[in-house]
Amino acid sequence: MRPLAVTTALLCLLGIAASAAISSPRHIPVKATRFFYAPAVIVVKAGETVVLDLTALDRLHGFDIPDLHIRADILPGQVTEIRLPPLTAGTYDFHCDNFCGSGHETMAAKIVVED
């Protein structure tokens, strides 16, 4: 391969990698256990695309953001990914919607979207 072609190919690869780095969403691990989510407050930037990596530490839990019509089961032993769309500034509450025992009603947390 000629030097010019090699250089061009390398630049293309670097460009693709850079583009992927820019566009790949931030992953935020979230642990669910009776009767808490950790972290209890998830802070993201307005317009940012993030992926929540949800893990249940003890039993089946749920993840429900009624205002966004997003919900998922969180099963023990596996990561459940929730891709959040770019959000406007504000607070979005979520809660467990799979009954998990005495205290289930208090199992809630929130996503705070900042400008």
């Binding site: 799979n98 009954f99 005495s102 208090t106």
Partner: protein, 294 residues
């Protein structure tokens, strides 16, 4: 979600429900129970086993309600418990102990016909296994003096779902009813999205309402939210009952659904039960709310 309605409005709306008639369209069971005015009593959300500041009289509240029902001049035709008879526990043996105890206390009612529905506290940790042992099936239907009652289980699944199989059963059961037969649905959670932020909904409740709205005369009585609420979804009226353990705030009125604090100056405030006077020939139900006496 439809608009809230007052009891007077509800009575006026339900007066348009039309007349019931006895005809060959009725099945055998219905023919054996001709339309006739009657009343029944709804008690809900006893949470037997709960202890805490929201109700320092937790051990007496249910007994007071039962005494009040027994003191009614004429006994109701039947009593229905719309779920959360017990407060949840992880201990299976303790769950059964609570169920046995509450069943014994309920046995003091001077009414022999008692219908039970499960709440999530009773059934969601074991898919209703213990509840069925003590109180029977979690879904069923029956006819009473011209009204067709359907008990829907939206709690045995911990996700608060009715499930396709039960929805199919519901549709089939309803399809057997003459359009002139008033239908009453008994359940625990609201079938509509009352306030999903507090889990006051049934995940597939919209599918149930789609089925129910094929019938012109459907009324729903439920529990779960520990307060009265009267809401219409289309032509279907939904009425939630007060609790017999603690009241909860109005939907979304506080940051959290924390129980309303016990008021020593006004004990049992916000707690109670109701009687329902049914006039099947008019598809009309008059609701009377009863408090708990200190």
């Amino acid at each position: 979600m439809g608009p809230n309605i007052s009891r007077r409005d509800f009575a006026r709306l339900s007066a348009f429900g039309g007349a019931v008639f006895a005809s060959g369209l009725w099945r055998g069971a219905e023919a054996a129970s001709p339309a006739e005015d009657f009343y029944f009593v709804q008690l809900s959300d006893l949470h037997w086993g709960f202890e805490g500041p929201p109700n320092p009289e937790a051990k007496t509240t249910l007994r007071r309600a039962i005494a009040a029902v027994n003191a009614m001049p004429k006994p109701p035709d039947f009593v229905v418990f719309t779920g959360d008879l017990t407060h949840t526990t992880d201990d299976d043996a303790e769950r059964r102990r609570r169920m046995a105890e509450v069943r014994t206390i309920i046995g003091d009612l001077n009414v022999r016909d008692i219908k039970f529905l499960a709440g999530e506290h009773d059934a969601s940790l074991d898919w209703g296994a213990a509840f069925k042992e003590y109180f029977g099936p979690t879904r069923y239907s029956f006819d009473h003096k011209g009204v067709h009652f359907i008990a829907v289980d939206n709690v045995s699944d911990p996700g608060g779902q009715i499930g396709k199989e039960q929805l199919d059963w519901l549709a089939a059961d309803l399809a057997h009813q003459a359009r002139t037969t008033p239908v009453v649905v008994l359940t625990h959670r609201p079938l509509f999205d009352l306030y999903p932020q507090w889990d006051w909904a049934t995940r597939d409740g919209a599918a149930a309402i789609e089925i129910l709205k094929t019938h012109p005369q459907v009324t729903v009585f439920y529990g779960h939210i520990h307060q009265e609420n009267h809401t219409m979804t289309g032509a279907i009226a939904h009425h939630s009952a007060k609790s017999l353990i603690f009241a909860l705030p109005a939907p979304g009125s506080t940051p959290k659904r924390t129980p309303v604090a016990w008021d020593p100056a006004e004990p049992f405030r916000g707690l109670g039960f109701r009687s329902i006077e049914a006039e099947p020939q008019k598809a009309k139900y008059e609701l009377y709310e009863m408090g708990i006496k200190a």
